[in-house]
């Protein structure tokens, strides 16, 4: 069954994070243990010998603050990747960071390796929004520290992406949010919804009945500003949906990145690995125990798929997708939802719609689709 091809290898260098965001889904984020270079080498060996590398893939350093690890570790990683990769495919690295620990040495590393190493910062908007949710363990805002790092990146002329988490608080400030990011000028802005997932057991977005309407208004205003500015600020969600509507060859019909084994592999600092949705790696479950399917020191990726646990999880996931296909109008444009969100919200994979579906796919799809239809009608009239 071993499938892939591998797109993302998500590696947890450490579960530790130097800040304590209100919505964080990661368990054990006070745990200061770190991955060893030997464990990373074992992960890389397993991946390269697996047959899963059939196109370029990216190592994503995530699930804990990656810059907590010493820079020397990543220099060793880069050397290992360069020396061991005998395939014809490129292996890139992406750091998803709060940015606070950036310094001159890090910037020099990023600049020297700009062809293969990318940085994405987590910034939630202007200071009054960011500091409302991205805080230290003492409860202080982190905006000022992050912006010092942004200044440093600008000094070194390093482009960076941004992921921003949209909470209920954000929804009242679309103009301030948009204007801030327009001035910040990231190479791409990803808007993640605050999800119920892992250790985050509630979402301010899902808590209030009126939020759907406010979220719709927020996304509509964001899309209007995105268009009015001729896409000067690249917003991931709008770009992807527009391209899907106008240019993709096919509708969603079958398995996607989070429902095909090993298009994503997530590995923790001890070498335990999971697949499908990356967030599954740290999650616990009454039914399955957890979602660790193997360990790189003991198991190949192929044999991990033969375990009873994987078979049970995967059967339930695919059953849920079939239910989506049979019952949801959005299936052709959504593909059957994301397993980790289904499980986190409903404690089951064999379910259909989630709040995540609604906020991440359905509402933005309707807004963009309506806009394109209206523009075409307008052109026809002219």
């Amino acid at each position: 069954m071993l499938t892939g091809p591998l797109n993302l290898l998500i590696v947890q260098g450490t579960p530790f994070c130097n800040i304590d965001c209100k919505y964080c889904y990661l368990p054990n984020r006070s745990d200061k243990n770190k991955i060893s270079i030997e464990t990373f080498e074992k992960i890389l060996d397993r991946v390269l010998e697996s047959g899963l590398v059939r196109e370029d893939f990216t190592i994503v350093w995530h699930a804990g603050e990656p810059l907590v690890m010493p820079l020397s570790f990543y220099k060793d990683v880069s050397s290992l990747v360069k020396n061991k990769n005998t395939t014809n495919f490129r292996i890139k690295q992406n750091f998803q960071s709060n940015g606070i620990l950036l310094n001159d040495e890090w910037c020099e590393f990023l600049k020297e390796n700009r062809d293969t190493v990318n940085l994405s910062l987590s910034i939630d908007g202007p200071q009054f929004i960011h500091d409302n949710q991205r805080i230290t363990r003492k409860g202080d805002g982190t905006f000022t520290s992050v912006m010092k790092s942004v200044d440093l990146l600008r000094k070194y002329e390093i482009n960076f992406g941004v992921i921003s988490v949209i909470t209920d608080f954000t929804l009242d400030y679309p103009k301030e949010f948009y204007q801030f990011f327009k001035e910040l000028s990231p190479k791409i802005l990803g808007m993640n919804v605050e999800e119920i997932e892992g250790d985050n057991y509630s979402s301010t977005l899902y808590a209030k009945n009126i939020t759907t309407e406010r979220y719709n208004k927020f996304i509509s205003e964001m899309y209007n500003m995105f268009l009015a500015d001729t896409r000067t600020l690249p917003i991931r969600e709008f770009q992807q949906i527009e391209k899907f509507i106008l240019k993709s060859k096919s509708y969603k019909n079958g398995l996607g990145q989070q429902t095909t084994p090993y298009r994503i592999i997530a590995v923790d600092l001890d070498g335990n690995f999971s697949t499908l949705s990356p967030e599954l790696l740290g999650m616990k479950s009454a039914k399955y125990g957890n979602f660790v399917f193997g360990n790189v020191y003991r198991n190949s990726f192929e044999e991990a798929l033969t375990t009873e646990k994987f078979k049970a999880v995967y059967y339930d996931i695919i059953s849920g997708m079939v239910m989506c296909k049979d019952s949801c109008n959005y299936y052709s444009v959504c593909g059957g939802g994301t397993p980790s969100n289904k499980y986190s919200e409903h404690k089951s994979f064999a379910v259909t719609e989630t709040n995540h579906c609604k906020f991440k796919f359905q509402l933005p799809m309707d807004i963009v689709l309506n806009k394109i239809e209206n523009d075409i009608k307008f052109q026809d009239v002219q």
Partner: protein, 70 residues
């Protein structure tokens, strides 16, 4: 064939026709590629050169939480 394989086969059966498929089909059939280009240049924004390389719907999935996709 295992139970999972049977379910996967069911997933890839003929395309489900519904209001979204019909609406997107209508958009695609009512405009030529050039028209879309003009529409975007003149009406709702800049045409992105990478547009033409976007050929697979699965690309929509290839963005798990990456703020800086390569």
């Amino acid at each position: 064939m295992t139970e999972v394989e049977l379910l996967i086969e069911k997933l890839s059966e003929h395309r489900q026709s519904n209001s979204y498929v019909e609406r997107i089909d209508a958009i695609r059939s009512s405009v030529s590629g050039e028209f879309i280009k003009v529409l975007f240049d003149a009406g709702i924004g800049q045409f992105d050169e990478s547009w033409d390389t976007f050929e697979n719907s699965a690309d929509w999935d290839n963005s798990w939480d990456q703020g800086a996709p390569n």
